[in-house]
């Protein structure tokens, strides 16, 4: 379990963390989302004792990271998959890490197999694709068989096949009872993966809820209707829907399924040109939550 409480940190004039507080519980995948600059990576670095917070605490199993005797046996982490020396083989990279924790070569071979790298173990990491580096980073995080894992943007650079593998892998880790914290600036990546989401913006937590809660909180199902008929609004209101004008000849209909909308309009002979059902996604909920917190809108849009 990882507990972050009231972390504050400034880099010069920039406030990176402004009271960041959340916990990562075992047995589930906690998504850590927010636009670039929200403080996700800084938070993770503080948890790992790499950056010092100006205030607040970050504890792993109730202890500061620096107090851990074999830290990788408590938290496995992947911050930057490219943090490798290109000339060293994948296996040797894991080997020195294993030695730093008093582990042997056997454990290295186990994690190589688990991350699907056994075939390239003796190849230099410099020749790896970003996706393979991510797998190597995962293998490194797993070395100490830690009860908690922390991965910063693990989906970056992965091909679709890799993303599917990663999702299953993360769920599997949580199913083993581990606490898994996964950051992403794209909420969509965490759909079907995270059980719980911590949404960060401008250095603090905007939302900390289960995925189900977030979806419920987001605006419900809507139907977008394109019709120039003046009656459409009244007809649908009669059928029990809440109708708002969303533009010239565009109505947003809530409280009525798309089929019911079509049926109601058909019954009264109201003409329409398009009906589209729109289901709220985690992405919508996230965008709604972070609308004000986006600091670098252009960068995050890219």
């Amino acid at each position: 379990m990882i507990t972050v409480n009231g972390l504050r940190k400034r880099f010069g004039a920039t406030t990176a963390l402004d009271g960041m507080t959340f916990t990562v519980d075992p047995g589930r995948v906690t998504g850590f989302v927010g636009p670039n600059g929200a403080g996700k990576s800084t938070t993770m670095r503080v948890i790992l004792g790499l950056d010092a917070a100006d205030a607040g605490t970050a504890l792993v199993e109730g202890r500061p990271y620096r107090a851990l005797r074999h830290p990788l046996r408590h938290v496995g982490s992947l911050l930057d998959a490219s943090a490798l020396q290109p000339g060293r083989t994948a296996r040797n990279h894991l080997l020195w890490l294993a030695h730093s924790q008093g582990l042997g070569a056997r454990r290295v071979d186990e994690v190589l197999e688990r991350s699907g790298l056994q075939g390239v173990a003796r190849r230099r990491a410099g020749g790896f694709s970003l996706g393979m580096r991510q797998r190597l980073g995962i293998a490194a995080a797993l070395l100490g068989d830690p009860p908690a894992l922390m991965l910063d943007e693990p989906f970056n650079g992965m091909d679709p096949e890799g993303i599917i593998w990663m999702r299953g892998f993360l769920r599997g880790l949580a199913a083993e009872g581990r606490a898994v914290l996964v950051s992403s600036h794209l909420m969509g990546e965490l759909e079907d993966t995270a059980d719980h989401v911590v949404v960060a913006g401008r250095g603090r937590v905007i939302a900390d809820a289960s995925v189900a809660q977030l979806l419920a909180a987001a605006s419900g199902d809507r139907v977008t209707l394109r019709s120039h008929s003046a009656e459409a609004s009244a007809v649908l209101a009669e059928a029990g829907a809440t109708v708002t004008r969303a533009g010239d000849g565009v109505l947003s209909v809530a409280g009525l399924a798309a089929g019911d909308v079509v049926a109601a309009l058909h019954r009264r002979g109201v003409a329409f040109s398009e009906v589209s059902a729109h289901r709220a996604s985690l992405e919508d909920a996230y965008l709604e939550l972070t609308r004000d917190a986006v600091e670098y809108r252009w960068e995050s849009a890219s």
Partner: protein, 524 residues
Amino acid sequence: MTAYLRALAAEWTKFRTMRGWVAAVMIAAALIVGLGLLPGLQGSCGKHGPGSECVAPVGPGGEEVTDSLTFVHQALTGDGSVTVRLTGLTGELPGEPGKPRSGLVPWAKAGLIVRGATTQGATYAAVMMTGSHGVRLQYDFVHDVAGRPGGVSADAPRWLRLTRSGDTLTAAESTDGTAWTTVGSARLSGLPATVEAGLFVTSPQHTEEVDVGLGSGAMGGPSHATGVFDRLALAGGWQGDAWKTDVIGAQVEHGGGAGGPGGAPDAPVAGGSVGPAAGRVSGAEREGDTFRLTGSGDLAPSIPGAAGVGVTITSTLVGTFAGLIVVVVLGAVFVTAEYRRGLIRTTFAAAPHRVRLLAAKATVVGGVTFVAGLVAAAVVVSLGQDVLRDNGVYLHPASTATEVRVVVGTAALLAVAAVLALAFGTVLRLGVTAITTAVVVIVMPYVLAMTVLPTAAGQWLLRVSPAAAFALQQASPAYPQVANIYTPANGYFPLAPWAGLAVLAAWAAVAFAAAAVVLRKRDA
């Protein structure tokens, strides 16, 4: 396993799994050995058939000595004393071929001597007037006791006396032959009952430093001195008037050996490049009770360098600076490579105690370079000696203790320098900056001091810079009573060996402490 040992195991694995790093250590060792075994030094010792071998006489202390002098003597048994008045001491310096200049070298010697034998290297004690160091008592080549300063002339003669009592010889001097001042006394163990005692004159090699543009060198040649004596008298148990003249060590024993590896290639090299002074010839003449002795040579430990002959084992280690460059680059890169890729965060995540980690890194890079330096230095010092001798270069033998100190010292120099570079790398983080700093601070002072810098500036650098540790490679001591150009280029460093290492170690300690402080304070 303690946290430090785990960090050490991890850093060792890191090191040995980078082919480039392992290769760098091999290259450093290969440079040290290779440059040492391919010396440009050539000499003529043993190159001209039998009899041309270079063999230096050995003094009572076992050290190689120079023992060349003009000696007017007779055999005397038992205890007694000999007294003489010195009324003149003049000399002649080498100049243009055939045109010697008049002048007296500072350590020209004229006086009384008691020798165990006339063979070279025999035990002796002598009281003498010198060119510019006043009256001295010297014995058994390496010992020197100062008497009163001053010169000598017909108007201001100087009386000298040497008294034997058993194994002890006591030297005294006087300006008037009445009031005597004791200079000192010497115990010569193993002095036979019958000794050869009498007058001597000798005058060591003249050398002067010359600055030729960017290179400094030395030039010189043999000098001669002439001493005029009278009132030679024996007393105590000694008597007789059967004085005979010997010019001991008249022929030049050492044909080989350039001055040293340093200096610009086209600079004048010491020894023999200027023709011998043609004016005076060693020998003695007697006119009534006046003796006129002309001599050339020295009674002194044999030294390498501009005023001496040959080289020392230090010459086999000329490749050290090249190996050092590789080693300091490795030391810096051992940490900057991690900063470059962000791997340092993985390292700190695995070993959160950063100072302990730095210590582990220092142990690995220091240990590896120490072992490589030890092997390379041991190989090149032993094989390099054979190469030099095969090339006809006269090589001063070093004692085993000196050889061990030079070899272990070279290894220590490399290891501590690597740790210093590691500390630079930790503070500066950027590879190029750290490497540049390390090379400029550690290697450059040595290269500059050995080549272009004036002696004083070079010696200052070799006192204060990390390159002071090159003093560990000095194989031959500097004797104040032997005129020589004691410069780094000739293998003489301004600090004692271990003091030089202490200077480098102090640099490393301060840099390591600074690195530890910034590591603790800085976000990774």
